[in-house]
Amino acid sequence: MPGAPSPTTSIPSSAIRLSTSVRRIAGAAVWHGVMLVACAFVLIPIVMVVLGSFKSVNEFFASPYGLPESFGLHNYEKAFAEANLPVALRNSIISTGLGVAISTVLAGLAAYGLARFRFAGRLATRLLFIGGLVVPVQLIILPLFIMFRQIGILGDLRSLITVYSIFGIPLGVLVLTGFFASLPRDLEEAARIDGASHFEVFWRIMLPLTRPAIAAVVILNGVWMWNDFFLGFILLTKPDAMTLPVAIMAFRGTYSTEWGLIFASVTVSALPVVIAYLLLSRQFIAGLTAGSVKG
């Protein structure tokens, strides 16, 4: 440092620097403190259930708050055997997988038609689809229940797959129409002049460009279908058709004191979504808020 600063100026300035850095550290400490408290509120309940899934019935009463004696998979084995978890897991995978696939295809095609063509009734059609978002499931499921009973698919997985495939459309149309509409028109016109059909333009050019929006729709619909309890609860009366949330609730009704088994089932049901979330948390957060931001 050329030219040592005079003592009169250096002391106050370093004191100021010291106090600002103290203040910054204190501020950061408060910030981390508040964030850690918020995270604790989220994580402690979840951890308690996961720990509970390793405890025996006696352990719950002997040490409700302590760690389990061992991390053996006893409860999981028993839940898989007695709570019919493998079947429920399979049903959840089938209904969510098909529901997401079919609703995304239907919504994608419809959104493309609504976004890239001009025709009379376009706005009304769009409103018809998006208006589905304010229809309470409690209302629509009652006539559907009657309808499925008449055509004879009430109670089995086909009824749930049908409902998921259709109920996923409004959100899909909402998110995808906005996205398709934002793509430049030149692309499409160039391809049309080269002799591509409308479907080829959609499939080869537009669809690859909408990957992020499609991922958002898949996540959005996938999470609610996987987690849905109400629709499955109403429609799936046959035990071998039950999805995970329905099976867990049925199991809880019969084995209400078997806490360990219930927590093991809950952990199994939440695990696939949580793992997917840990791997793709940014896409999840973007996807789950995409529908609401565009709406």
Binding site: P45, V49, L109, Y112, G132, F167, F230, I234, V274, L288
Partner: protein
């Protein structure tokens, strides 16, 4: 994990149909000559959008629009849900439900729940969003953890909190005792006064992350320059928030409010898991969504007889209320957004 296979299925489905039969099925790629003479084209080729809309319209029309219209029709008849449809009763069910104490009690509970969530989201969630809106290595981790409950199923959330609040094996009471709030200890779910508040808190736990993330996205659109300019002009932090930041959050406020309004008034899963079909204890937590279920399928105890068409009338009323208020909220809050910008 649940996402990947589904995505692949989507792709396979589409490609399969694309390879075998072009979509729209019949017409081969028209030559330039054909395209010029529109008269030679079939009517379907002149309206290509129909091919894109048709599959969704057929499915959605059959399994969504039709049942919705049918619900309005069925609400005008007397019908328990099995056997032939009974007599035409007109608007009698609507009159009945508007005079029903249970309906209004359930509506009140849903309203209280929304009010609480609204306040919670605009204090706690907004506060967390403001704090998260800074660059730090930990920001993404904190945000990911705070959002986590949003992806949990209602069944998982409900069971998690039944454990936490359990008077024998739950940890909420002992923790309260240890931090000196022992007077708050109680049998949360059995307490007539606290059962509904407990439901509200669990509901807030599940949806907090959604509001935090939506507000955070809104905050990231607030230009830093604007805040700095206000600071230089001598505005205090609170004034900057009130006069600069909060107005810029208007679109996020609209989304958070409308979304939670629809979610809360349709809510079933979490509340059913927590307090069952009757809104235990003694109807203290009965909300609209659960009431409709109980009336339709006869688990309501009040009248163990299922009364499908009456329940449908309740559903129609809820639909009208949701659609009306959502439209009102969107237009009011939309006008507010325009007034600000």
């Amino acid at each position: 994990m649940a996402v990947r296979p589904a995505e692949r299925q989507t792709t396979d489905n589409g490609r399969g149909s694309g390879d075998r039969a072009p979509f729209p099925p019949a017409p081969p790629t028209p030559s330039r000559f054909e395209r010029e003479s529109a008269t030679t084209r079939s009517p379907w080729q002149r309206v290509p959008y129909v091919w894109f809309l048709l599959p969704a319209l057929v499915g959605y029309g059959t399994f969504f629009v039709y049942p919705t219209i049918r619900a309005f029709y069925l609400s005008l008849f007397d019908w328990t849900g099995v056997g032939p449809i009974g007599d035409f009763v007109g608007l009698q069910h609507f009159g009945e439900l508007l005079r029903s104490d249970r309906f209004w009690a359930a509506a009140l509970h849903s309203g209280q729940l929304f009010l609480f969530i609204f306040i919670f989201q605009n204090t706690v969630s907004l506060g967390l969003a403001l704090m998260l809106n800074r660059r730090s290595r930990m920001t993404h981790i904190y945000r990911a953890i705070i959002f986590l409950p949003v992806i949990m199923s209602a069944v998982a959330t409900g069971i998690i909190w039944i454990l936490m609040l359990d008077p024998i094996i739950g940890i909420v009471n002992p923790v309260l005792r240890d931090v000196g709030l022992g007077w708050l200890q109680r049998e949360w779910q059995a307490d007539q006064d606290w059962a509904m508040r407990t439901v509200m808190l669990v509901q807030a736990w599940q949806w907090n992350g959604m509001a935090v993330v939506l507000y955070l996205a809104g905050l990231q659109n607030v230009p830093e320059d604007l805040k700095h300019a206000a600071m230089i002009d001598g505005a205090r932090r609170w004034q900057v928030f009130r006069d600069v930041v909060f107005p810029m959050l208007a679109p996020a406020f609209t989304v958070v409010t409308v979304l939670s309004f629809i979610l809360i008034f349709r809510a079933f899963d979490l509340i059913y898991v927590l307090t069952g079909p009757l809104g235990a204890p003694d109807g203290a937590t009965l909300v609209i969504g659960v009431l409709i279920y109980g009336d339709a399928f006869g688990t309501s105890g009040y009248s163990s007889q299922p009364h499908m068409s009456y329940a449908i009338a309740e559903g129609v009323t809820l639909f009208a209320f949701l659609a009306g208020v959502s439209a009102l909220l969107v237009s009011l809050l939309g006008r507010r957004e325009e007034a600000i910008h």
